[in-house]
Symmetry: C2
């Protein structure tokens, strides 16, 4: 094993993660550092109770993606999925019908809901689900407390707060968000293991997940941001040349008054948090005092590309940690 390989093998890596983008980055990270201990702190602000079942879209996307069960084309949900249950629920006239839940996916939510009802915390449930999926990382929810992202909108039905999923999935973020709030954040505690993992980490990675409703959400759980800020932190810009790498991050950034640019997201995170920042070559001019900015291709075409980006981030972290 090379010296670099040995170093990676001993490494404790913590990565935050939202959904699709974060999961794909993590697949690259795991590929480039297969022997490292990787702890993933997943966003649960998108979680929603549908049909009485607790759905954790981001945790599941990470779990399915790293566990080989993801619908690769779609980026979320299960491969070879069917939709019988959803069709039947619609036949009963039960709402909502705008959220896409497949039959395989339903089983995950049924198991999770049953365990929640039995009193298990989400962190233990996630661990139990992962015994099947073997994602090769330790996947922790940011918190075991119920903590949901709500969005204030003003449309023909008036000014009101809706669950993030209603805005994101049903409205496809087409109605401008006046504000975005993580309801329950004030009293939420990091899930068991979260602060310990950060403390033991050699590096904390912020993948190109949504800086507002994914990474930003995780950072709002009291104690997490400060713990991360004390570490060597390398982020990958979710914005390339003024547009999101994928998804609708621009709608979220606009809602909080932040420009959709690699510079603005770096400024948002701040130099107290970030030590290294990976941007795309067209954003080479991005700069912030106290932050080492590196310009490299950061588009995750495939797992090889994601692994290259992850390797660059780890190498940069290694340099920064000196």
């Amino acid at each position: 094993m090379s010296e670099a390989g040995e170093r990676l093998g001993r490494m404790h890596i913590v990565s935050l993660a939202g959904g699709i983008g974060g999961a794909r980055f993590l697949r690259g990270l795991r590929a480039t550092a297969p022997d490292a201990q990787i702890t993933v702190i997943g966003n649960t602000g998108d979680d929603i109770t549908l049909f009485g079942l607790r759905v954790c879209p981001d945790l599941d996307t990470v779990m399915y993606t790293l566990g080989g069960g993801i619908d690769e084309e779609q980026g979320w949900g299960r491969a070879k999925e069917s939709h019988v249950v959803k069709e039947e629920l619609a036949a009963y006239g039960v709402e909502p019908q705008w959220f896409g839940l497949g039959d395989r996916d339903f089983a995950t939510h049924i198991v999770r809901s049953q365990m929640l009802e039995a009193g298990y915390p989400l962190s233990q449930i996630t661990e139990a689900l992962c015994t099947r999926w073997q994602p090769g990382v330790r996947l922790l929810p940011m918190t075991d407390d119920r903590c949901e992202t709500h969005v204030v909108i003003d449309d023909e039905r008036g000014r009101r707060a809706v669950h993030f999923q209603e805005w994101w999935v049903r409205m496809r973020a087409s109605v401008p968000a006046e504000s975005i709030a993580l309801v329950g954040a004030d009293t939420a505690k990091p899930a068991p293991g979260v602060l310990e993992a950060i403390e033991q980490a050699d590096v904390v990675i912020l993948p190109p997940s949504n800086p507002v409703v994914s990474i930003g959400t995780i950072l709002q759980i009291p104690g997490i941001r400060a713990a991360i800020a004390a570490k060597t932190v390398v982020g990958v810009s979710p914005i390339i040349g003024g547009a999101p790498v994928r998804g609708m991050a621009d709608a979220c950034l606009t809602a909080i008054g932040v420009e959709t640019s690699a510079q603005a997201v770096l400024d948002l995170y701040g130099s107290d948090l970030i030590d290294g920042w990976l941007v795309s070559p067209e954003d080479a001019g991005v700069a912030l005092e106290g932050v080492r900015v590196i310009a490299r291709p950061i588009l995750m075409h495939d797992t090889v590309a994601a692994a290259d980006i992850a390797r660059t981030a780890l190498d940069l972290a290694g340099e920064l940690a000196g």
Copy 2:
């Protein structure tokens, strides 16, 4: 319309019902008296919570059978059913795996469980589910209270009580039942509408459902037996020539010390309850003081045969009420 037809059209009929046998009889009853007001009091002693979802096998069998959604061959569950959710739950290692729940069926249990969680009683939930299925009868659970049949067995794991479904479905009643008890019966109340429907009934029909764990269960809910006994009651024997018409009623009868015969079941119900009793020609010798016994073919080959039997029962009731 004939005089008999007019009489049937004005009739208020109450029928008790278990699962498959009861549902098929009811299809015949509805066919022979399409304009009658039929209220079905369904057994809920078989109900069970699986994977955190409330399953009501008998209510659903009646609803699906009369609503055209039943798996005709199997007699229970949905037609054109798939089993993706069940396979996925098994992949998670979640128990039990011996209960057959299909994807379409899961949707029913999800809706029911969500409504229970929201505080609706089972009777209102059943009514809501029936707005989709339009069974052509008013389907009422015997009670809104939780009331489950348990069976005491003694096998290699020792003497213990198991849920009726575990004995019936998992063990296929192969282990002798020492006793059968309806847990919660003492304090259960008839569901809203049950006693009123019986009071207004011109006739109460006991279809060839299981006399112990279906009809017997319904009769155990305080108030129901006495209300029915005050009416003209015609029963159809579930036993033909010493064997159950279908299912494993013999195992249940044996458990309560009753012989598997048309005579013994009539004796079990008693002349205080029953006014008319339909038996198969080979059981023509059956007799009980105060009960009019009629011997006719009572095997329900198809809906036409079931309709003939139902018509015979209604005609007998008419004579008895005479």
